[in-house]
Every structure is written in C-alpha cells, then in structure tokens.
C-alpha cells in the first residue's frame, strides 16, 4: 500500500493545479471560475477567498452538486496549503465526472502571501448559534437574516396590548435594539392581555416592566426606553434612526402624527389596531406603497371610534394581531417573503376569518403625494376637523 505522502503526490500528478495568481487574474478578468473552499467550518469562518462557496471535504460528495450542478463548469478547489484540495479535486474528477476541476497550489496561505484579499465573515457566538439555531436552519432567514435581525433597530409605539407580544417575540428573534415608547404605568386591568407585564409590577412604568421581561428572555437585546407620550414636538427626534416602527397606539391623533413623521423620514410602519373581536393589519412603506392617510383620509367622529377602554377587547386578540405585526417586522428586516404593503388584513376572531383588501396609493394624498422635504412641522398629525375631533374625544 502507498503511504499517505505517496498518495498525495500521485493525486497531484493526476489533476490540474493552478497558481493563486491565475485564479485571482481570471476572477478580475470576468472569467471567474467557481471557487470552492474545502476546509472545515472554523477555518472558513476565520477568512476565505471572496465569493468562495464552502463545501467541507467531509461533505464533498454529498454537497458538491448543490454548489456546482454543472459538471462542465470550471471549478477551482482550495484548502489551507493545497493538499486536501488536491485529493478533493481527484475525487471530483475521477469519481464524480467533473470535467474542468483544478486545485489551487499553496491554498489560501499562498493566496494571502500573494497579497490578495480575504473575506472574514461575521460570525455568531456559540451562544447565539445555539439560541438562533431554528432560524439558521431556515433558508429564508439563515445566518444572513439572523445578522440583519441582530443589527435591526425596531421601535414599538405602546408597550400595551399589541406591543406586549410584539416586544417579546422580536426580543426572542434576536432583534438587536428594541425601542419602547409608553408613558403609562402597569394597571391590573392591563394584565388580561398585556402579557409582557406581571402582577407584581402593577404601578411600575410600562417601559421598565417591559424591559425586565425582554432582558429576562434575551439579555442580548438592547432596550431603548422612551417614557413619554409622542407629540409633534418630540416625534421626529424619537423615531429617527429606527429601521421599522410598530404602531400599536390607542388613538387617532397619534396615528396620523406617526404617519406623517414616518413618511418624512421614510421609515416603514407595521400598523395594527384592535377592538372587541376584530383586528386590522397593514404595512405602510413610504413611497413604496400607500400611507395611513391614503387608507383613512380622515378619522371617524368620536362616537364611531370607541376605544378598547370603553368597549372592551378580547384578551387574546392583541396577541394574534401583535404577532402578525412581529412577523411583518421580521419579513421587512430580513427581506423574506412578501410584506403586507398595499394590503389590509381584517381578522374577525369570532368568525375566524381573514379578509384581504387592496389599499392603493392616493395620488392626491395630502402627505405622501409630496416629497418629504415639503411636509412642514405644522402639518404633522393634523387632519380635517382635527380640533373638533379632539374636543369631542376629550
């Protein structure tokens, strides 16, 4: 039997080898071959050739067809020093019928010595890999999507019925920064639905109570607390810098104000509202789709706009709607799926029906038909009959 060294020597004689400079030059000439890194995961994570796909040698036979389905395509394999890639190239050539396979001499060590670039991918910590493992298994999320979630800044307006489940699940999903805006304190009547709060925290500011629950679930999340009520004087400052806003506020003036400010700053809003057994959900992405004012040019009079406080709400309803909001946030952040832009979903809990309605951009919309710079501070949050509305609403 030949020794290992003899076997390697023989393999290198039977395959084609290529110098890193030739690989680099053909890549920059536009004739880039498929470059395959056959090293182990930790080696790949420490740095690899930009654009290389990773097929560890141990998985070569089972995974190479996924990476290189066309056997006539030019494939260049590399490892650390050129040995493992030579053996892998021989396998591809002799056993799997690849017609145009090469092994890069000297591996990535020589590549680096030649002064060529190496890409060091961002990696999760071992704790993060374990915590988010079920996301990492989903092709639609994966490492890339999880890193986007970890980088995301999401602002929740209201740490109440809708904000409770949204905050908990977004924290669990690994959203890196969660902002909370609420000036209220936990009341015992909240606990029928606001599951982020607890009985022993009655009387505590909601932002503090919510922060405790978020941190207990996922200490890696940064919580930004805004224990204030949004108004035209503070809204631009508070919402600026967030990637997505989740609207769960309980009154019309703030919903219009939020719409106008988010259009000015081009921040998408995942909006839901609830009453009784019914919920509504939509995503307002400024200039990509309609805004809140395109859907509702003016709010109903106060007698047709009862609040949950006055009319009641099924405790699980904000759970359902809040989790639909959290789902839309994750879709917006990761780019997975089709976000609910230009559509309105109505949920009827008693009938268990979802109704999907189309929402169009209004070419005459007082806000989003104009450029952000044309919208003035004075106009924000104002709607026809605003003063009468607010007087009637008390």
């Amino acid at each position: 039997m030949p020794s290992g060294a003899e076997m390697v020597k023989r393999a290198r004689e039977q395959i084609t080898e290529v110098d890193p400079r030739a690989v680099h030059d053909s890549a920059s000439n536009g004739g880039a071959p498929l470059i395959v890194d056959v090293r182990e995961q930790n080696e790949f994570d420490e740095g690899h050739i930009p654009g290389a796909v990773h097929v560890p040698r141990g998985f070569l036979e089972s995974r190479i067809e996924g990476a290189a389905p066309d056997r006539s395509e030019r494939v260049v394999l590399y490892c650390a020093g050129g040995v493992r890639s030579a053996l892998a190239a021989k396998t591809l050539q002799d056993e799997l019928g690849y017609e145009n396979v090469e092994s890069m001499t000297g591996g990535i060590t020589l590549w680096k010595d030649r002064g060529f670039d190496v890409e060091v991918p961002r990696a999760l910590t071992a704790e993060q890999r374990a915590r988010y493992s079920r996301h990492l298994l989903l092709p639609e999320i994966g490492l890339e999507g999880q890193l986007k979630l970890l980088d995301a800044k999401v602002l929740l307006l209201g740490a109440g019925g809708l904000g409770s489940p949204t905050a908990l699940y977004l924290a669990a999903a690994g959203v890196g920064t969660i902002g909370l805006v609420d000036d209220d304190e936990v009341d015992v009547s909240n606990l029928q639905r606001q599951v982020i709060h607890t009985t022993d925290r009655v009387g505590m500011p909601k932002v503090d109570s919510a922060e405790q629950s978020v941190k207990a679930l996922n200490p890696g999340v940064e919580v930004m607390k805004h224990a204030t009520r949004l108004d035209s004087s503070n809204i631009m400052e508070i919402i600026e810098g967030y990637d997505v806003i989740v609207d769960g506020v309980d009154n019309f003036p703030t919903r219009y104000l939020l719409n106008d400010a988010s259009v000015r700053l081009r921040i998408p809003v995942v909006s839901a509202s609830i009453l009784g057994f019914d919920g509504q959900l939509s995503v307002f992405a400024p200039y990509d789709g309609p805004c809140y004012r395109c859907l509702y040019p003016t709010p109903p009079p106060a007698e047709l706009a009862p609040s949950c406080g006055a009319n009641g709400v099924l405790g699980v309803l904000p759970g359902t709607m809040g989790l639909l909001q959290a789902t839309e946030v994750i879709k917006l952040v990761t780019g997975a799926g089709e976000p609910l832009i230009g559509r309105l979903v109505l949920y009827d809990a008693l009938a268990t029906t979802f109704t999907d309605l189309k929402v169009r951009r209004d070419p005459d919309c007082p806000i989003c038909s104009r450029e952000p710079g044309e919208i003035s501070d004075e106009e924000m949050g104002v709607f026809p009959d605003y003063e009468a509305f607010c007087a009637a609403a008390g």
Partner: protein, 90 residues
Amino acid sequence: MSVIRIPPVLRAATGGEKEVAAEGQNVRELLERLAAEHPATQSQLFAEDGELNRYVNVYLNDEDVRVLDGLETPVGGRDTLVILPAMAGG
C-alpha cells in the same frame, strides 16, 4: 342578492347583524337599501350631500370603491360589500 358586511361599530345600528343581504344595481343602491332597512346607519354612512362620509371606506370584494366608480360602481349578485371604518385601539 349581494351581501353587505357590517363592521362592529355599526352593528348597534343593524340590531347586531354582521351581514345584511341587499338587492341593488350599484353600490349606492345597496347602501341606500341598508339605510332604509336600518335607518340608524344613514347618518353614519352618508354625508348631508348624499355622498359617502369621508371616514367610511367601502370595498367591493377586495377593491376600494374610490378607485372604481365610487357609489355608482355596478354590483353583481355574488358580490360582497365591506364597510370599513378606521379603528385606533391598541
């Protein structure tokens, strides 16, 4: 017969009915039939000039009648009209 879906805030005006069947050639006729049967809905749906109140959205199946022919949009017997008010609860 077409079906008109009644939102929660208008159900007091329809005696608790969630759906009302009505006959009519267009959206206006259907809503007028509804108002005739349940007079309390009249002022909630229509402004004094006979047009829809601006805060009432009406959808024929899944399309806003404002992008169709408004109240004059023709209606077929299998169509559903959805009356949709804005809600602000959170």
